[in-house]
Amino acid sequence: MNTNKIEQWILLRQSGELSPRKCRQLDILLARHPELQQFENDLAAISLVSRESTTTADVPQLNGATRARLFEATEQAPATLRFAQWKFLAPLAAAALLILGISLALHRTPTPGAPIAHTDAAAPAAEYAWDDNLEYELDNLQAVLANLNADLPQANRQTPDEDTLIRELLELEGARI
């Protein structure tokens, strides 16, 4: 390995960008080449001396006009950041909408006489796994309703209104309890 490359490794180690494996290799190389060790020492010394040449006392404060503009911007900042904060809520909102959609789909009542949607037979079965389950649930629901209808008195079987149906269902529940 040439000197140039090793010096670059020294620079990268100082900036924390050299991998631990290369750091170990570098230590071995530096132990063998004192002139390169000197480069590392000089680099550290020069950096320190240069940094110390400017003290905080030499540095001006931000002037009044700048501060006024900065704090003016601070007041506006929440407004400008509103969209940025909103972005974090977007996935949550999407998830909530998805859950709402699923709930509505699960609880929808089948419209009498509505055509039953058939899935495309050519489509892969895996894509319809969720729909199959939904169909199964709907079938169960229809069976429960059919059983309920069968349990109802003969006179009430035909097109009962909603209040009557609820009352009868409550009676049935109470009877079972």
């Binding site: 140039n4 010096e7 670059q8 620079l11 990268l12 100082q14 900036s15 924390g16 960008e17 480069f39 000089d42 680099l43 010394a45 020069i46 950096s47 001396v49 240069s50 940094r51 110390e52 040449s53 400017t54 003290t55 905080t56 030499d58 540095v59 001006p60 404060q61 931000l62 002037n63 006009a65 700048t66 503009r69 900065l70 704090f71 911007a73 601070t74 007041e75 900042a77 929440p78 400008t80 950041l81 940025a84």
Partner: protein
């Protein structure tokens, strides 16, 4: 990211103006040192320092860097380049008016008068400061980004729009030149650092 910087930034984004003061105070010295040394003591340094902060806050929602200070340096770098271009245009104009003036390239390469240069001081810091001011601008910038801001080479390469190898080579040249200055001074003053 620096934990403190991160905390202040979050507080500032939540609307706490005091956090901005802490952030300014935390980055004031390295940022100003970088600008002042890049500008070779030019009076515009203070103006760029102020402008860097204004640009930073105006564009805070675009901030994506790992380190806030690196982002400030990037803004300062752009402002210094803009200012140098304006100065170059002005210099060209002035030069056109004076027949026997020095060529533009030479004038730009020449560092501006620096108080430290005028003082015949054997102080090591002053010697290094002079040597740094005499480095070519691109080498000086790499050196200052490393020493003042601890900016990693990967980020320096991004700021300068060069490869990481070029950034490393610039730093190597700078260190070699400064080493000779350091050695010369050590011999002259008998200081062994």
């Amino acid at each position: 990211m620096d934990t403190l910087e991160h905390r202040w930034l979050n507080e500032y984004r939540a609307g706490n103006a005091e956090a901005l003061n802490s952030l300014i105070e935390h980055t004031r010295r390295p940022l100003y040192a970088f600008i002042a040394k890049m500008m070779e003591g030019h009076p515009d340094a203070d103006e760029i320092f102020q402008e860097t902060w204004i640009r930073a806050i105006q564009n805070i929602h675009r901030y994506r860097e790992a380190k806030f200070l690196s982002w400030l340096f990037r803004i300062a770098h752009n402002l210094i380049i803009d200012r140098a271009r304006k100065r170059a245009r002005l210099t060209s104009f002035e030069q056109a008016l004076t027949e026997n003036s020095q060529p533009l390239a030479e004038r730009l390469a020449e560092p501006a008068p620096n108080p430290a240069e005028n003082a015949a001081s054997s102080d090591l810091q002053a010697h290094i400061a002079i040597a740094v001011s005499q480095l070519p601008p691109e080498q000086r910038e790499v050196f200052l980004l490393r020493t003042e801001g601890d900016v990693p080479f990967k980020e320096i390469a991004r700021i300068q729009g060069v490869s990481i190898n070029t950034a490393l080579a610039r730093m190597q040249y700078a260190v070699h030149k400064l080493r000779s200055e350091l050695r010369g001074n050590t011999i002259a003053t008998g200081i062994d650092r």
